[in-house]
């Protein structure tokens, strides 16, 4: 007997796109390109898109992408609170201790909502 309107996103995104439909709803972004950030190891219940392999790692903000509700909230039907999202770049050797030293320049990028990041 859910009261959640399952066409909510489609309705607000039609003609604009998702995440564009959330533009201007998150306030000022806390981080900018080039900032060094650590990925927090927050508890997650039921759903997250913050991969375990990134938790605790330090990287650099590569792109400030868009505003959107966080998937951890959307999964529960909460779409009223938006956050900024960031593509963060890591050195592979900072993610995987065994990453071969002769490929020390290799990198990995992935995206986080603001709640997962803290300044270093």
């Amino acid at each position: 007997m859910s009261q959640h309107d399952r066409t909510h996103h489609a309705k607000i995104a039609t003609g604009k796109g998702d995440p564009q439909c959330f533009k201007g709803t998150a306030g000022p972004a806390k981080f900018k390109v080039g900032d060094r950030v650590r990925i927090k190891n927050l508890p997650d219940i039921f759903y997250t898109r913050c991969q375990v392999y990134t938790r605790g790692a330090i990287g650099e903000v590569a792109v400030v992408t868009h505003e959107s509700p966080a998937p951890e909230d959307e999964a529960w039907g909460h779409v009223d609170q938006s956050e900024w999202f960031y593509i963060v770049r890591f050195k592979q050797k900072d993610l995987w201790p065994e990453y071969p030293a002769n490929f020390a320049n290799d990198t990995l990028q992935t995206e986080f909502s603001e709640r997962w990041l803290e300044s270093v």
């Binding site: 489609a10 796109g17 998702d18 995440p19 991969q51 392999y53």
Partner: protein
């Protein structure tokens, strides 16, 4: 086929089963089927609607993204647009992300990013969560893109996985994995290969195959999705 030595006496008259196939179905695929069947039962859409959408999605083909890259190779201004507003740049190759299905709703998230390769940087895309993929411009994912094998290993051993695809890159080329885990979608814009000087947009489009756009291959003159595949004689032919 590790038991072959037990069956040597069988050569020529036994019936050998084919090599084991990967018949892996992920939790997400099982979930998709379950949700789809429930939705059909509930009357949200019909099996016919689903088939029609699948037909639409599978016919998109790799062409729009390939043409985007070819156009960008030829036109620096268009390339700039691809790198700053890829959704807008998609219109030039006939893709409207905000209305891709013709069914009235956006079918996917609509924040496309183009990852530009350089002679010293190679991008490759994965979604470790499941299978995020820029469908409106690149069609459906290949089967291997959705497998846990590719997803788990690419982020950790990218060079080994690329080598399995036949792509070995020297250490001076930085391999940058893009784990597509939120609302952004990605295609790779490879470096225009040597030997394509003076080519037309159509010729260039032909060599930007799907795998080049994911980043597990590099474009090469003469290598298109339309060339006949080489046929290798089986090492151990089956006898019937």
């Amino acid at each position: 086929m590790s038991n072959d030595h037990d069956h040597d006496h069988d050569h020529g008259h036994g019936h050998k089963p084919p090599a084991p196939m990967v018949e892996e179905i992920s939790d997400f695929e099982a979930l998709e089927i379950a949700v789809r069947e429930l939705a059909i039962e509930k009357g949200l859409f019909t099996a016919e609607d689903h088939r029609r959408f699948t037909e639409f999605a599978e016919h998109i083909g790799p062409t729009p993204a390939a043409r985007m890259v070819a156009k960008a190779w030829l036109d620096p201004e268009y390339k700039k647009l691809c790198l700053t507003d890829a959704i807008k740049a998609s219109f030039a190759v006939g893709v409207d992300w905000l209305n891709p299905t013709g069914f009235g709703t956006p079918s996917d998230y609509t924040d496309l990013r183009v990852l530009e390769d350089t002679p010293t940087m190679h991008h490759v895309v994965v979604c470790t969560l499941c299978s995020c993929y820029p469908r409106p411009i690149l069609g459906f994912q290949p089967e291997w893109y959705r497998t846990p094998n590719y997803r788990r290993r690419l982020v950790r051993w990218p060079r080994q996985v690329l080598a399995e695809f036949g792509l070995t890159l020297p250490p001076e080329v930085e391999v940058r994995v893009e784990d597509s885990n939120q609302k952004c979608r990605f295609i790779v814009m490879p470096v225009r290969p040597a030997g394509t000087e003076g080519w037309t947009e159509d010729q260039l489009t032909e060599i930007v195959t799907r795998d080049c756009l994911i980043g597990v291959a590099l474009p090469k003159p003469g290598m298109t999705t339309n060339i006949p595949l080489p046929v290798h004689k089986p090492a151990k032919p089956a006898h019937h």
